[in-house]
Symmetry: C2
Subunit: 191 residues, 2 copies
Amino acid sequence: MSEIFKKHLEKFIEINESEFLDILAFFQAIKVRKKENLLVEGQICKSHYFVLNGCLRKFFVNEKGIEQTTEFAIENWWITDNIAFENKLTSEFYIQAVENSEILVIDYLSQQKLLIEFPKMERYFRFIYQRAYGASQMRIKYLYSFSKEDFYHQLNSKYPEFVQRIPQYLIASFLGFTPEYLSEIRNKKRS
Amino acid sequence: MSEIFKKHLEKFIEINESEFLDILAFFQAIKVRKKENLLVEGQICKSHYFVLNGCLRKFFVNEKGIEQTTEFAIENWWITDNIAFENKLTSEFYIQAVENSEILVIDYLSQQKLLIEFPKMERYFRFIYQRAYGASQMRIKYLYSFSKEDFYHQLNSKYPEFVQRIPQYLIASFLGFTPEYLSEIRNKKRS
């Protein structure tokens, strides 16, 4: 399973087997079951999660008591509440398994040590944050420029496999509308 | 003026005077006048901008022809269209000076060379992208959870000096409403 992480690292940095094993020692491998929470609102966010397989999501509960999903992480993606993680703050978010998942977990101090002991991991994480930041900039543009319906069509045309894979009520929660409205849009498209 | 950049770098990494001068040689220092465009929609995004003083903003023109500001950069902030910059793509954004500004500019190849020649700059940019990514995650949460009016009050209470400094029609463009509506909200608060 850790081979997945090695292959992923090799997309960004050169790394030999012995270095990889030393790097891997900073992580804990865990399995989580569907709907299990890794982080709960109000907890200190202590960990950064890398998805080996499965899917996690991040959400907050809005003032109407509705879960608003802001992010998904599938294979080869990182997820955490970054500001809370970096500043050891309580989080306003939940992180929950969408599917049974296998995850690598690293805590804040271990990530700091890893970066000091393996400067090439600075390069790796620079790429990771850079990519994530670029994606979130486009996300912000979409939030301003697309209607919720357009946003759904955009998601569906760019990531059809993802939309198929994820339960529809969570796609609705990500887009910010009710499952009923999503189902209406889908039916409209078919007819 | 370049002292500002050195002090900023020193918040993240240790750097001596000779290294700093070598690093600075990768950049070009320019002055831009208020309302001058550094990037125009449809152009390849070739540069990454660091604000020494003044203020830049990034915006796109929506389908109604209205400028939607998605980001400001004041002193010590970076700004570019990150996905376009990293992939040498045409941009969907404009970057424009809000005030007369002094800027450090680095092009894509120079930034790559800088990172290779000064690995400590990997650490620096890792911090920069990490911080920017964390901020954009919170921004996305606000876009989902706040009404436009709440967003204004949040901005005003967290960054009162910024709201005072920036022309009100640009604050309105950032919040996604008309200058008239912003003025209405401001008057409501006063009364």
